[in-house]
């Protein structure tokens, strides 16, 4: 059975071109770039190309930093904890930080950690569209006392895109540092730090067909936070740890390819997503979350009325279709997904949400087959369900 992968917001296939580009740096050019000998120096040209591709990919200026790290989780932790360390050192009058109620755990849990240390944290609610706008900020924070705001660019569950440019402008106007977790945006929609002007931005290669375990943290020129990982001189002393040469080179190419494919994402991936969404919407008792035009072009979060999420992905998996669910029963923890609850979903919806996320490698034939599998699963599980007696 040919399997169909529709869980690209979790991770993506590594583009074969990226894999090929990484290959020479395992057994041939394996030197440490920080070494002075030829084994170290021979990789420098390739590393420079990779860094150029990353800078170009998000339109960073040469004066800005893109700190290479292990993933966006690390980037998010570096920023949030770093800002806290600076608050401790600075002792200014700004004692509040803010984030949204729908952030990824790597942001949410880090804020909760700061809260446990006594920091005043505001968790911003989403508006009726499921997004955070400058108005939400205005209503919920005191701009004079707020030191830092972190709002994701696009949501991992719903694909809903926040107006980060407006939020960044509001923060800038009030002297608030602004971070955006762009993990679900890079490779799906244009991401330009030149345009949005955040102070910090984080991304992860494996969400845009690069390898896992490598990511980047953008820091705008003139903004300083202490490193999370202290040690060697790598990354200008801002993130210690031997440079992961093959992965950095892979991420560089993955970024270039992702940006090159943005028009394809906006047209073909979107077309296939809409196709699947229309097929799903035609099934009675389904509800897609979030307006289409506000979402990344690859994501559908849908509730199948009367069908528990894990049961749904179980049945889909049996038919070779990989999707995911934020529902309570699917994950190892039994907590209901706080993001879905924050979006004002009815409680039963939070248990029935299933996410389908496409990539540029998804084909129309796959979408066609997946739609049939979904139909079949819904029919079987509806028959079992207590719902709609």
């Amino acid at each position: 059975m040919e399997r169909i992968y529709l869980d690209n917001n979790a991770t993506t296939i590594v583009d074969p071109l990226v894999k090929d580009a990484m290959e020479p740096f395992f057994c041939k050019m394996y030197g440490n770039p920080n070494s002075l000998h030829s084994f170290g120096t021979e990789v420098h040209p390739y590393m420079r190309i990779a860094m150029d591709r990353l800078y170009a990919g998000i339109e960073a200026s040469d004066d800005d930093d893109i700190i290479i790290n292990s993933c966006a989780c690390e980037g998010n932790n570096t920023v949030i904890q770093g800002v806290y360390f600076d608050m401790l050192r600075g002792g200014g009058k700004r004692d509040t930080v803010a984030t949204s109620q729908v952030e990824h755990p790597s942001v949410m849990k880090t804020f909760e950690f700061l809260e446990s240390l006594g920091v005043h944290v505001v968790y911003l609610p989403v508006n009726a569209d499921g997004i955070i706008t400058p108005d939400v900020l205005k209503e919920n924070i005191d701009p004079e006392r707020t030191a830092f705001v972190s709002i994701m660019w696009a949501n991992n569950e719903t694909g809903l895109i926040n107006p980060v440019k407006d939020i960044a402008a509001y923060c800038r106007e009030h002297g608030i540092l602004f971070h955006t977790d762009a993990v679900q945006a890079v490779g799906k929609i244009p991401v330009s730090v030149k345009d949005v002007q955040p102070d910090f931005l984080t991304f992860s290669a494996h969400k845009f067909h690069g390898p896992k375990g490598i990511g980047g943290l953008y820091i705008r020129k003139g903004v300083n936070i202490p490193p999370l990982i202290h040690g060697g001189e790598q990354m200008g002393g801002k993130r210690a740890g031997t440079l992961n040469t093959p992965y950095i080179i892979g991420m560089g190419l993955a970024m270039e390819l992702a940006v090159k494919n943005l028009p394809f994402e906006a047209t073909e991936v979107r077309r296939l997503r809409d196709l699947l969404e229309d097929r799903i919407a035609a099934i009675p008792g389904t509800q897609v979350i979030g307006k289409r035009e506000l979402r990344t072009p690859n994501t559908i979060l849908v509730s199948f009325e009367g069908i528990e999420g894990e049961a749904m992905i179980w049945d889909l998996n049996k038919q070779g279709v990989a999707a995911s669910t934020g529902s309570a029963c699917s994950s190892e923890s039994l907590e209901p997904n706080p993001a879905l609850v924050a979006m004002g979903m009815k409680d039963d919806l939070a248990h029935t949400g299933v996410r389908f996320s496409l990539s540029r490698f998804t084909t129309e034939e796959e979408i066609d087959r997946a739609a049939l599998c979904i139909q079949k699963a819904v029919e079987r599980l509806t028959a079992i369900s207590t719902h709609g007696r």
Binding site: E308, S330, S331, L334, H351, T352, T386
Partner: protein, 326 residues
């Protein structure tokens, strides 16, 4: 239920791998899924019971159909419907099967633990991972509901004891007893002794998967408080045993009497006193006291007050107490 080693826990996503084959089979093709209609019951001369438990908003809902022979009270057929995950569906299916052939009173004795055991591939290997045990509890609750409907009584009449941990079916009394008998000091110890809190963890403290009436943290705190109070009381009661107390216990007993009978009286006059030393020899106890406040310079302190203190201690504790001012 299978040991959870650190190494095993480091990489997630193993939830489905921990399901037994029977869980997967029952999920894929439940045998007792379906409904029983009133017409069918009537035509067979049977009584139909339809019980609902849970709610879709909570993520789990199950409906149980029983066809009962009114002459024998025996459940001749059972069917279920479920809004729930794989574990919930598989558990409901086995639960319905286990009901068939039993009387209503026998069926009430089926627990989620029986259901889990019936789903095992091997007798010693858990059918589902610990955090999914919760999803099998519904299967037990709905049986109670069905029995209460059949008997026309409140569901609380069916449950014999107060259950704290539904997953492991541990009662309030068991938990209180195990804390007392083994002098348990942590929730982890309670879990080790009873398995309570080892599964979905809802009963450990508020804020878990579901709201509970009792939480282990509260039971532990309350029981330990009670134990402490009892221990204190034990220490304080045997006044007649003053003679056989250790010097420290004697000191405590004296301080207690001074607090209750002496200091209050002195305080009204702006005075106070304290015990600075105690000696024990030849069966007599010498208590050395020092005055403070208005007592310190008072002429009667060495006479009237002293004999007052001495009298009180002799009366309350032991004739062999002598009080000396310092």
């Amino acid at each position: 239920m299978g040991d959870r080693m650190a190494k095993k826990d480091l990489i997630g996503g193993s939830l489905w791998e921990q399901y037994s084959n029977k869980v997967a089979e029952r999920m894929n093709s439940p045998r007792f899924m379906g409904e029983i209609s009133e017409e069918e019951a009537n035509s067979r001369g049977m009584k139909l019971v339809i019980a609902d438990w849970g709610a879709e908003a909570c993520g789990d809902a199950v409906r149980l159909y029983w066809l009962i022979d009114p002459k024998t009270q025996r459940i001749v057929d059972a069917r279920f419907k479920s809004f729930g995950c794989g574990t919930a569906i598989a558990s409901s299916d086995v639960m319905a099967e286990l009901c068939i052939g039993k009387t209503v009173d026998e069926a009430v004795k089926i627990t989620n633990i029986d259901v889990e055991h019936a789903l095992r591939d091997e007798p010693d290997k858990a059918a589902i991972p610990p955090q999914k045990m919760h999803c099998s509890v519904m299967a037990y609750d709905v049986i109670k509901k069905a029995a209460s409907l059949y008997k026309g009584v409140d569901i609380s009449a069916i449950e014999e004891e107060e259950i704290v941990c539904e997953c492991a079916r541990v009662s309030l009394k068991t938990i209180q007893d195990v804390i007392r008998i083994n002098d348990l000091k942590t929730v982890e110890e309670i879990t080790q002794y009873t398995k309570a809190g080892a599964f979905c963890k809802s009963c450990i403290r508020p804020g878990g998967h579901e709201k509970r009436k009792h939480y282990l943290v509260d039971i532990l705190r309350d029981t330990r408080e009670k134990m402490q109070m009892e221990a204190l009381k034990k220490q304080q009661t045997p006044l007649q045993d003053f003679h056989s107390m250790t010097l420290i216990q004697k000191h405590r007993a004296i301080e207690k009497v001074l607090d209750e009978k002496v200091r209050k009286a002195l305080f009204r006059d702006g005075g106070s006193m304290e015990v600075v030393d105690m000696k024990e020899s030849d069966g007599r106890i010498s208590v050395y006291v020092q005055y403070a406040g208005s007592c310190a310079g008072c002429a009667s302190a060495t006479t009237g007050t002293l004999s007052f203190i001495s009298e009180v201690l002799k009366q309350e504790l032991d004739e062999a107490i002598d009080v000396y001012p310092v």
